[in-house]
């Protein structure tokens, strides 16, 4: 087998694998990217139920209610609009009223946001960049 032929086969093989991998990645990206919205974005857009999204903001003071069993409900606010969220499970340790939070889930048919993930922050002073940006955009960001 000549060097040139070997190289062609190698390149063809590599191209095939790469092509397959790219197709795989594009399909996976389509299916699995999750958009981030603030409560005001949702008030403006009005989202279809069933679409999986991330919702982030601050936990509204006084909105946390520990319901039946393991379900808690609270409101996520960006100080202009708020969205009611219900979550079944144990929230992370740093989850508190007045702190930044990012939740992931979907709206159900009745318009309530059912979260299946509540993201932990890793220290008190950390604010997820998306939440900070959203608050900054609304002009309500307070530099500590």
């Amino acid at each position: 087998m000549t060097r040139r032929r070997r190289r062609v086969i190698l390149l063809a093989g590599a191209a095939a694998v790469l092509g397959l991998a790219t197709a795989l990645m594009l399909t996976a990206l389509e299916d699995s990217i999750v958009f981030f919205y603030s409560p005001s974005d949702i008030a403006e857009r009005g989202l279809a139920s069933g679409e999986r999204i991330r919702l982030g903001g601050l936990v509204e003071e006084g909105s946390l209610v520990r319901g039946q069993g393991l379900t808690i409900t609270f409101k996520v606010t960006d100080l202009e609009n708020a969205v009611a969220v219900s979550y079944t499970g144990v929230p992370p340790d740093l989850f508190r009223e007045g702190q930044g939070v990012v939740t992931e889930g979907a709206f159900d048919r009745s318009g309530a946001f059912i979260a299946d993930t509540v993201l932990a922050k890793h220290d008190e002073n950390y604010m997820p960049p998306e939440v900070a940006d959203a608050l900054k955009a609304r002009g309500v960001w307070q530099e500590k």
Binding site: M1, R3, R6, I9, L10, G13, A14, V17, L18, A21, L24, M25, T27, A28, L29, D31, S32, I33, V34, F35, F36, R54, R66, G69, L70, G89, V90, D93, L94, V102, E104, L119, A120, H122, D123, E124, N125, Y126, P128, P129, E130, D133
Partner: protein, 662 residues
């Protein structure tokens, strides 16, 4: 006073790095031996300076000197000594100092043990190492100085983040950094080779041990991180495809490809271009990882809370080194002499496939990690890419690779007999098939349908590695004395490789077990309540308060029984740290041969205490397998043939191109 000495030592180190880099480069270009020796001396001086700086910072932490701002932010007098000391690298500035310390260490090792290298090659390697050191020392001095003072000095500190107050902190970062900073040596060798215009077997024989060393440490570092997250975060998960995790995983994937590729360069003088590219890519990914972790651009459970200005600085460093090395590659790679021919079905061919699949898998992780960043920069949309993406792309790329892996060691160089190889692997195939059927029978209707195949895959890898060793020692195929003689004389590199491949199989078994057959429950329990999970009976005994050195905790005790007989007891607690007033959850774990029973408590509600229970089958195998892989790496390193001081094979064309006499 020691703090100022440390600060001064840091600046001195910067000066040494500048000298090391410039003098070595000029010396190599001119063939001036005394200049090249001076560069090596500067490398040794640099490591002494950085060590002094690091020691000064450690001293400040250990003596709780709160006049040093870094110590004030990250330590407290009531902290246990382990966390005072480990807290040195539990923050951005201190961990950057650790980073440059390891960089300087590797540079000094090359300077000291590189006597057998062509002096111009060694000098150029030191020049590149020095340049990287200059960049990062400048970064530290300009933006992340750990030696800044506070006046007046506060009485006590703000305490280390409670999530980091765990023995894992003492080990995970150092091993991780030894790993991906260690790849800087391979990078330096690649750039030096491109400048020289020559890649040969001697170069590969040099690159391989350094890469193996870095790879082994990185394997341990990543496994430790995974294990730490598992028991510390209280969510029972062992991998989250978090950007920071991916930042350490990508260099590992590239490094694995590099290891295998360097083998081909050494044995067959082929695949040079690819090996050089992989060496550049592996360290570039380490640099990208450093950027991701410290710039604040990505949401992550463990990104350092750092301001964007530092991110810009690192980005500039990245552009210079990655852009520069890739540009050099594009310009000089064609000058490298192409190597030996080989047939598609051969060990070289198998290693090419290996390279390809690992690189593509690495690209998949890269895209998933950076796509949100890129999209936000272009359209302003904020998205997140999580586990579903990686599961859908990474697994389908890795599975064919793992299926092909046992074939590789059996294939001959240049041209191999596939049918013969397949025959030798029949035993391994039988083990895999039998295992799959047994797993299917044991699992019954639980878990995904394809899960038993995962068990089969893991067994295939282990049995394949065992088959290879048996074949090499002619077990069952030759008189016992012959087999024993061969076994004793088996090169350690081959034992190491087989062990590492078997280790991968063990990891696959663990991943399959916990992903397919995990059981999770979440209940409210009152004292005395019992809960059934995976055949265990867990009884909640009650809560009691307890006091630690710098925290107070509420401890919930549980008794565990199986089939009526008591097995063990474990506890889970919620800790409230005095200074930062942060609550952490400590999980309780009982490990058995078949899996982990895992408990984590939540809050007290009207119906009782919220308790989460998991049964994670085979999960310890994940980390056990990683240890086996690292062991394989270490055994391989101890092979005399790979030893750094091993003499080069003299080749005629080498002497003609040799620089000044060493």
């Amino acid at each position: 006073m020691t703090t100022e000495i440390g600060h001064f030592a840091l600046l001195l180190a910067l000066a040494m790095a500048v000298i090391q880099s410039s003098v070595s480069l000029i010396g190599a270009a001119r063939g001036d031996n005394s200049l090249m020796q001076a560069g090596a001396a500067a490398a040794r001086a640099q490591v002494l300076c950085v060590t002094t700086a690091f020691a000064a910072l450690t001293y400040a932490y250990v003596t709780s000197d709160f006049s040093v701002e870094n110590v004030w932010t990250n330590s407290h007098s009531a902290q246990p000594m382990l966390y005072k000391a480990a807290g040195v690298w539990g923050n951005h500035e201190g961990s950057m100092l650790l980073w440059v310390l390891i960089l300087a260490l590797f540079g000094a090792l090359v300077a000291t043990f590189g006597g057998n290298l062509a002096s111009s090659l060694r000098a150029r390697v030191l020049a590149v190492q020095g340049a990287i050191a200059v960049a990062f020392l400048l970064f530290i001095v300009a933006t992340s100085n750990p030696f800044l003072r506070l006046d007046p000095a506060p009485a006590d500190g703000r305490e280390l983040n409670p999530l980091l107050q765990d023995p894992g902190l003492a080990f995970h970062p150092p091993f991780l950094y030894l790993g991906y900073v260690g790849f800087s040596v391979a990078f330096a060798f690649a750039v030096a080779a491109l400048i020289e215009g020559r890649v040969d077997a001697a170069w590969a024989r040099w690159v391989r041990p350094w890469t193996l060393l870095a790879w082994t440490f990185l394997t341990i570092g990543i496994a430790m991180g995974s294990w730490w997250a598992y028991y510390e975060l209280g969510w029972g998960g062992w991998w989250f495809w978090d950007p920071v995790e991916n930042a350490s995983f990508m260099p590992w994937l590239a490094g694995t490809a590099l290891l295998h590729s360097a083998l081909v360069v050494e044995k067959r003088d082929a695949l040079k271009v690819w090996t050089v590219l992989l060496a550049i890519i592996a360290f570039s990914l380490s640099l990208v990882g450093t950027f991701l972790v410290r710039s604040g651009v990505l949401t992550s459970v463990h990104a350092f809370a750092v301001d964007p200005e530092r991110g810009v600085f690192i980005l500039v460093i990245l552009t210079i080194f990655i852009g520069g090395s890739l540009a050099l590659y594009a310009w000089r790679a064609p000058a490298l002499r192409p190597g030996g021919l080989f047939a598609p079905v051969s060990r070289e061919g198998a290693l090419v496939v290996n390279n390809l699949l690992l690189t593509v898998a690495c690209a998949a992780v890269f895209i998933g990690t950076l796509y949100p960043l890129a999209l936000e920069a272009v359209t302003g949309d904020k998205i997140s890419v999580g586990a579903p993406f990686f599961d859908a792309t990474f697994a389908p790329i890795m599975v064919p690779l793992l299926v092909l892996a046992p074939f590789g060691p059996f294939l001959a160089w240049k041209r191999a007999d596939l049918a013969g190889t397949a025959q030798r692997l029949l035993f391994a195939l039988a083990v895999a098939v039998f295992g799959t059927i047994a797993a299917h029978a044991a699992a019954g209707s639980e878990g995904p349908l394809l899960a038993p195949l995962g068990i089969g895959l893991g067994l295939w890898l282990i049995a394949g590695a065992v088959s290879e060793i048996f074949w090499r020692i002619r077990a069952f195929n030759a008189p016992l004395r012959e087999t024993l003689r061969r076994a004793v004389n088996l090169p350690r590199a081959q034992i190491g490789a087989a062990l590492a491949h078997a280790g991968v199989g063990v990891v696959v078994l663990g991943i399959t077990g916990v992903t397919a057959w995990r059981v999770a429950q979440i209940v409210e329990m009152q004292p005395g309540d019992t809960q059934e999970i995976a055949g265990y009976t867990v009884t909640f005994e009650g809560v009691a308060p307890r006091r630690g050195p710098n925290y107070s905790e509420t401890v919930a005790g549980f008794r565990v029984a199986r089939r009526g007989r008591p097995v063990d007891s474990f506890e889970s607690s919620k800790r409230s740290y005095d200074v930062q007033r942060m609550t952490t959850t400590e999980a309780g774990i009982i490990t058995s041969y078949t899996g982990d029973l895992y408990v984590a408590i939540g809050d007290e509600g009207p119906g009782g205490l919220t308790v989460r229970l998991w049964y994670n089958p085979l999960v310890p195998l994940i980390w056990f397998g990683a240890i086996i892989m690292a062991l394989g790496g270490l055994i391989s390193l101890s092979d005399r043939r790979l030893r750094i001081g091993a003499p080069r094979r003299a080749r005629r064309d080498d002497t003609a191109r040799e620089g000044a006499p060493a």
